[in-house]
Symmetry: C2
Subunit: 264 residues, 2 copies
């Protein structure tokens, strides 16, 4: 199976070299930007195309599409003509399988690696859960095998409906994107006191380590869960000149208190 890669962002940058190492034949990388396409193609040792989608090869058996969700339907629409028989696959958490049919393409699938990818850091795929969906059974098996080639732990390779994947992605936004933003805000607060973020790492790591031992609601600590109005009032006052952080502080604290109340 010859695979063409559409998109050269964070997901493709991490995923495609791993797929190639596991034996996948990558024939071409396309990106809107020449420099992104060239950089990824150089890693892979394959040809690259850029700019308009008209230049993409028609010879591939599989088109793995890892572009921004907002442009995904339009990309599929443009790729369809001349590639009617190819398997088109996207990697997005929140986009339904039906977007392919809506864009006029029938043979389709989803290959969602639930992980946070950055170009600066290589991801260990043995620690990535994959969620697979396809319109046809044989394509589903092909994608399941691709995932198994990256992670031989069966417990990490899942069949998933679009609805389930959408829910997973929403949970992932809370568990990854929002927590990382909390780290960013903490980093700024420490910088105000000339302190380095590294000092928080043991606390951050212990917070996560506890999750192996108890559900997060049980692991909750801090002023809100013990209803310490004294400290919460003080901390809100410390954020008086940062109304954006103060709003987040107030909203998350009251959400913590609500959860605690609902337990009893």
């Amino acid at each position: 199976m010859k695979v063409a890669i559409i998109g050269a962002g964070r997901v493709a940058w991490n995923l495609v070299p791993a797929l190639q190492e596991s034996g996948v034949e990558v024939v071409e990388v396309w990106s809107k930007s020449r420099s992104s396409a060239e950089a990824l193609a150089k890693r892979l040792g394959c040809r690259f195309m850029w700019g308009s989608l008209d230049v993409v090869t028609c010879e591939a058996d599989v088109y793995l599409i890892a572009v921004k969700d907002a442009v995904l339907p339009e990309v599929v629409r443009q790729l369809h003509a001349g590639r009617e028989q190819a398997l088109m696959v996207h990697t997005a958490g929140s986009m339904p399988l039906t977007l392919f049919a809506d864009a006029g393409h029938e043979r389709c699938g989803v290959f969602y690696p639930m992980q946070t990818f950055s170009k600066e850091r290589a991801v260990d795929f043995s620690r990535v859960h994959f969620f697979i969906e396809a319109a046809q059974r044989k394509d589903e098996e092909y994608l399941m095998d691709l995932a198994r080639a990256l992670n031989d732990n069966e417990a990490f390779v899942h069949r998933s409906t679009s609805a389930m994947r959408r829910q997973l992605h929403l949970a992932a936004v809370f568990a990854c994107n929002f927590t990382n933003h909390c780290y960013t805000l903490a980093d700024g607060l420490l910088a105000d006191a000339d302190l380095d973020f590294q000092v928080l790492l043991p606390l951050v790591e212990e917070t996560v380590a506890k999750l192996h031992q108890m559900p997060p609601a049980q692991a909750q600590t801090g002023p809100a869960v013990r209803r310490d109005e004294n400290v919460m009032g003080l901390q809100r006052a410390m954020l008086a000149n940062r109304p954006d952080l103060q709003r987040i502080y107030t909203l998350l604290s009251s959400s913590i208190m609500n959860v605690e109340r609902s337990k009893t």
Copy 2:
């Protein structure tokens, strides 16, 4: 130095056995609740007292006070009479050293272990930063030595003003308490789809692992940082019947976009 422990909550439960192991002579545990005092005293093999503070020994050299911040000033006020020469120490992040003088007690200090403690899980003190403050130099040295006995890595034992400690604690609330609450909310979202929280652990752990390699603002991923209005609109709609989560989603997403905007 004979040490009496005032309070038998999460902090004392973790900290005091470690102090005892490092050679500290713990003579008594007091708690408002008999069962808490008894449980901790049993671990330590010392006597316990409960109920009114009148029953606390007057024979200790050091009173280590790990009670809720809200009652801390009143506890100091009540302990002062008959223990005027003793060193009184609290363990709270946000409470100033001056609270002792305000409550009538001069010889005082702070011993703040910046960590999240639960009774169900033993903390590794070699991964805890300590922040020390005292009114008198020799008491500061005594507390620094206590911390060094728990963690022999000098980089983890800090002298700190009350203002600096307060700022650290505020950052810790964002980096630990608020992130843990995001895990709780994600757990609830997964439960709605009959999915187990364990499936998110590799993502959560990778989010933290990235912090060793890049600042959190650079590590940010997800729909908000790429301004994906499409996915954000979909996810907000998915939370239509959870207005509390929807508010958090909207506020944190716009905060992520604000930080991203301010970078450029």
